[in-house]
């Protein structure tokens, strides 16, 4: 067996106990949990972590969630969207309270990450709760004092479904509403398409780093549009959260 090769010096830390410090209702269907994790070794913006819950009868369930906080925050937080037929997400969104105990493993993932040394410009494109790891990146950029230009294009169903609305508001954030827009809305009100990406994003000649996160169909479409606009595939990183639902 080759399992030791190349991995002898490197380890992902095992399960660690975590306590819910704070619960933030972001939207009717999404909740942020700020976690206290003694000995948390820090994370990079865009990474994820596995969360494990244990029932009184010993039954366990684990899921993978993007980390929402910035490295500078010093704690991991996750923002979870409720999937009605899920087993873990309804608990985390609706039932979790400060003081509740769970376990965390991570951080995990070294690809969908951004550090200030990577530079910009940064083009971030989110579908729904796909904004979570991108929020970590933007927060890292702000707290670290990076001057890399960054723009966020966020596709949301409706005004009430925008996570981190106040934190993300600004000239570099563009929201498009796909189902219902506020009264008097003059901005985009359709799915992200090639024209929108071209208008909001950086030109291919500026070689932006493009991060796309959302449901599979959203990511497939936006990534294909980016390639069609002339962005190099090497500059495009994707993360799809269909796999981590439940």
């Amino acid at each position: 067996m080759s399992s030791a090769t190349g991995a002898t010096e490197r380890r992902i830390v095992g399960w660690q106990p975590a306590t819910v410090r704070e619960v933030i209702r972001e939207t009717p269907s999404a909740t942020t949990l700020i976690l206290d994790v003694p000995g948390w070794r820090g994370h990079r913006a865009g990474q994820h972590a596995d969360i494990r819950l244990t029932a009184e009868d010993g039954y366990q369930a684990q899921r993978s969630y993007s980390i929402a906080s910035a490295p500078e925050d010093g704690y991991p937080s996750i923002t979870v969207e409720r999937l009605d037929d899920g087993e873990v997400s309804p608990y985390l969104v609706d039932d979790a309270q400060p003081g509740d105990a769970l376990e965390i493993r991570g951080p995990v993932g070294g690809w969908f990450v951004w550090e200030t040394s990577d530079g910009g410009p940064l083009m971030l494109v989110a579908g729904g709760s796909g904004v979570v790891p991108l929020r970590s990146i933007l927060r890292h950029r702000a707290l670290a004092g990076s001057d890399a230009p960054a723009r966020l294009l966020l596709s949301a169903r409706a005004p009430e479904s925008v996570i981190y609305r106040d934190e993300l508001a600004g000239a570099d954030t563009t929201i498009t509403y796909t189902r219902s827009a506020p009264d008097g809305w003059t901005g985009y009100a359709r799915r992200v398409d090639r024209d929108m990406l071209a208008a909001v994003g950086f030109a291919p000649a500026e070689r932006p780093r493009i991060y796309i996160c959302g449901p599979t169909a959203f990511v497939e479409g936006v990534a294909a549009d980016a390639v069609a606009l002339g962005h190099h595939t090497d500059r495009i990183r994707t993360e799809r959260f269909g796999a981590t639902g439940g």
């Binding site: 080759s2 244990t54 087993e87 509740d100 599979t216 994707t238 799809r240 981590t244």
Partner: protein, 193 residues
């Protein structure tokens, strides 16, 4: 280990006897990819295994098998009794010098490493049909590696080459924190598991 207050198994949650540790069943077919989906024209498609190479038409003429297997993703979802059609890696390796390891390479630049013995004796295929239909690009079409006894990132999408080597080198995810071997039954998800 800490009990999570108020958390319980959902009544309709399936039994976990058939699942590796830490996995749950999904009715869907989630997608994980690191970048844009490559769209490979069939007339430009090639599969190279050691010194041999096949065009798409040549590949389809190879004897194929129907495969029904459970698949397990490192992000914790599993899917039972998935149906595939593809060419056994044993068929692709016929007549070749033996080696110790394989680096699978894909259109789009993805790589993943496996011991050669994990691809032989009916354990792995290059699959091109899923549930009776041509494999969708987002799931790895035109053809992907299928190594169901390992976590699914080892089943390289858009595979175009199986390079046979004497030494083991980590592939894409294997250099980014994921386990070098990836046995779901031993829960080898990450470095050091």
């Amino acid at each position: 280990m800490p009990i999570t207050r108020g958390f319980r198994r959902r009544a309709e949650s399936p039994g976990d006897a058939a699942l590796p540790p830490g996995q749950y069943l999904t009715p869907g077919f989630p997608v994980l990819s690191a970048g844009p989906t490559p769209h490979v024209p069939l007339d430009a498609w090639r599969l190279t295994v050691g010194p041999q190479s096949w065009t798409w038409d040549e590949f389809l003429e190879l004897p194929s098998e129907s495969i029904t297997v459970d698949i397990h993703c490192v992000t914790s979802w599993s899917k039972l009794a998935t149906n595939w059609e593809g060419v056994s890696v044993d068929t692709l390796l016929e007549g070749l010098e033996p080696g110790a390891y394989v680096m699978a390479g894909s259109y789009g630049g993805y790589t993943t490493n496996l011991p050669l013995e994990d691809l032989t004796d009916g354990k792995a295929w290059v699959a091109y049909n899923y549930e009776g239909e041509p494999l969708e690009p987002e799931h790895g079409g035109p053809a992907r590696l299928l190594v169901p006894h390992l976590y699914f990132w080892k089943s390289a999408k858009w595979v175009t080459e199986l390079e046979i080597t004497e030494t083991d080198e980590p592939g894409f995810w294997e250099t980014l924190g994921y386990h070098n071997y990836g046995d779901p039954w031993r829960e080898q998800r990450y470095w050091g598991d």
